[in-house]
Amino acid sequence: MELLQRLNEIFREVFDDEDIDITPEMTANDVDGWDSLSHVNLIVAIESKFKITFSQKELLTFKNVGDLLNSIRGKITTC
């Protein structure tokens, strides 16, 4: 399954919304319920499903879904 699709499934589960279709440009302002606390849920879920970890410093650099995708891609290809 393509990375974008796998991440989309996680978004749907975290935000309890089967209609979410993420795009690289998407930010927290585009998804209902994406607040700082649900963001922690999102990160924990991504770490668990992809078996990766993010550093605090990395987390601060994510401005949109595209940044998140790039970071995940980098981590799973170096695993």
Partner: protein, 541 residues
């Protein structure tokens, strides 16, 4: 004091809209709506009056009447304000739901209130539909972003509003008429519906003027969501009863964007929350250089205690004071507060407003003197005092003794009359200014197959004031894993709300309970904090 009551009309919807128009403010901007993507739209008091009157007419055409209950389940949007004020114009009761609530939180509130209607948006509709079969009183769901009616009872807000007349006039509304409904969490049982009356506007208006210092030449920004009492008392009622222009921003926390807004919109009075202010404090100080906040006269804070470090930071970095205010859902408006003209004692709640009689009372009912910790109580009779807990008058009566309302907070009064918050007298968790019931989180966790028992406490947190910590005992056959952590987090978040999600989950062999099976949260808290648990004679073997 400003007199906002004309011809005995106490209707909040009327006073905040039509009355402003008849007093000559019809063309004045009531609010500038700034979407999450920063598109701007201005709505005058005339627009606010017209749209809210149309919504009152819509409800009337659907058969709603005085005393019926309608909820909004919306993020911050212009429709939130039109629906809220329109519902009140009709003398129906308006409840507001935080848009991050999950299925169970929605069911508990709509079910308990026997709500007749709810206004929501398409992306949130599915949450309501999942529990709809358990809500027999719910007649209509009105959806703000569908263009055509979906069925006989799932209706399009734009379609309804297109044909509605805006000549609805609120009937003469006596002060005791029920108005706003907010649910609040207790340490046991389901959340309780705090019902207010239209008379609350007297106090909300007075405090908007006397505490927040609002005048009709101000631009006011209250960051609170309308799902909570601050969002209705001071994001709607207080300022609009005074004809004040507000800005309402539909996006979330973003330090740079927030400061861009403060500067660009020339905000003069800003009301926010300690957690947001602490987040701002953590940003690089350089971020704030170069901003011209010359228009900003005052900053206020509400939700949980404001730590002295934030006051010091604001003085140093922004050259501004922050005034911490204290009130509760039940009080409807500010009771004890720091305010311009009163020396700030950083970390203190401030002093009671004139006419508000606060007291520190021991558990045995004795009034305590200065520097003694006890129950923070308020002499009854302030105008915005809640009318009852909906359908639960027994619990309402239990909150009063000898003419005092027991707030559930504990505090100390110093020799100069300043009050200092000490904690809660119950187990309710205050996380980022939101009260969370440990019972609700425990109940959600118990729905997870792997969980045998759970106990939930609030633990000190530098950012959130308190964080939700869950102690979980797993069934023997299950092992702790990262996947299980995700499962627990998402289950609580999607059933209750994101703010109820445990920030820490601790796996234990057993949950301490007393001999009658009640979870001893104070023992869990003491263990977590490494403190003495005190008397544990009632702990089961």
């Amino acid at each position: 004091m400003i007199n906002i009551i004309v011809n005995d009309q106490y209707n909040i919807g009327h006073i905040c809209t039509r009355q402003q128009c008849t007093s000559g403010l019809g063309d004045k901007v009531a609010f500038r709506w700034i979407s999450a993507h920063q598109e701007r739209s201005d709505y005058t008091f005339h627009n606010l009056d017209s749209e809210s009157s149309k919504f009152a007419a819509v409800l009337q055409s659907l058969g709603f009447d005085a005393g019926d209950i309608l909820f909004t389940f919306l993020p911050k949007t212009p429709e939130q304000f039109f629906c809220f004020l329109g519902t009140l114009k009709l003398q129906a009761i308006c409840g507001t739901l935080f848009s991050n609530f999950g299925d169970e939180a929605i069911l508990d509130r709509l079910g308990d209130a026997k709500a007749n209607g709810v206004v929501t948006k398409k992306s949130l509709l599915k949450k309501i539909l999942r529990v709809r079969h358990q809500l027999p009183a719910l007649k209509f769901i009105i959806v703000t972003d569908i263009e055509a009616h979906q069925s006989a009872d799932i209706l399009s807000y734009p379609a309804l509003m297109r044909v509605a007349s805006d000549d609805f006039i609120a009937p003469l509304t006596p002060p005791e008429t029920p108005s706003v409904l907010h649910y609040t969490s207790g340490s046991t049982g389901k959340p309780k519906g705090v019902l207010h009356a239209h008379r609350s506007i007297l106090h909300q208006s007075r405090t908007a003027s006397e505490v927040l210092n609002l005048t009709d030449s101000d631009t006011f920004w209250c960051t609170a969501d309308q799902g909570w009492v601050t969002g209705t008392s001071y994001g709607v009622i207080g300022p609009w009863s005074l004809g004040v222009t507000q800005i309402h921003y539909g996006g979330g926390y973003d330090a740079k964007l927030w400061f861009d807004l403060l500067q660009k919109e020339a905000v003069t009075i800003w009301y926010s929350a300690p957690t947001a202010l602490r987040m701002l404090m953590r940003e690089d100080a350089g971020l704030y250089q170069g901003y011209d906040l010359g228009a900003l006269r005052h900053i206020f804070s509400v939700g949980e205690p404001l730590n002295p470090e934030v006051v010091t930071w604001a003085r140093k970095t922004l050259d501004k004071d922050i005034y911490d205010t204290w009130f509760q859902t039940e009080t409807g408006g500010i009771m004890i507060t720091n305010r311009p003209g009163l020396e700030i004692r950083p970390g203190s709640m401030g002093t009671p407003l004139e006419g508000i009689e606060a007291a520190i009372i021991a558990d045995d009912g004795d009034l305590l003197g200065e520097d003694k910790q006890g129950n923070l109580c308020l002499k009854t009779g302030w105008p915005s005092m809640f009318a009852t807990y909906l359908g639960n008058d027994v619990v309402y009566q239990q909150k009063f003794k000898n003419g005092y309302y027991y707030t559930g907070d504990t505090a100390v009064r110093d020799g100069d009359g300043y009050y200092w918050f000490k904690g809660r007298s119950d187990d309710v968790i205050n996380t980022a200014g939101h009260l969370i019931s440990p019972f609700e989180v425990e109940s959600a966790l118990l729905e997870i197959e792997e969980v045998a028992e759970s106990g939930v406490i609030g633990a000190p947190d530098e950012l959130l004031y308190e964080k939700v910590v869950a102690f979980v005992h797993l069934h023997e056959q299950y092992k702790w894993s990262k996947e299980l952590e995700v499962k627990m987090r998402l289950h609580v978040s999607n059933k209750a709300s994101s703010i109820a999600t445990p920030q820490e989950i601790i796996i234990v062999d057993t949950i301490p309970k007393n001999k009658s099976g009640k979870i001893m949260r104070r023992v869990l808290k003491a263990r977590y904090l490494g403190e003495d648990a005190g008397d544990i004679s009632t702990l089961e073997d």
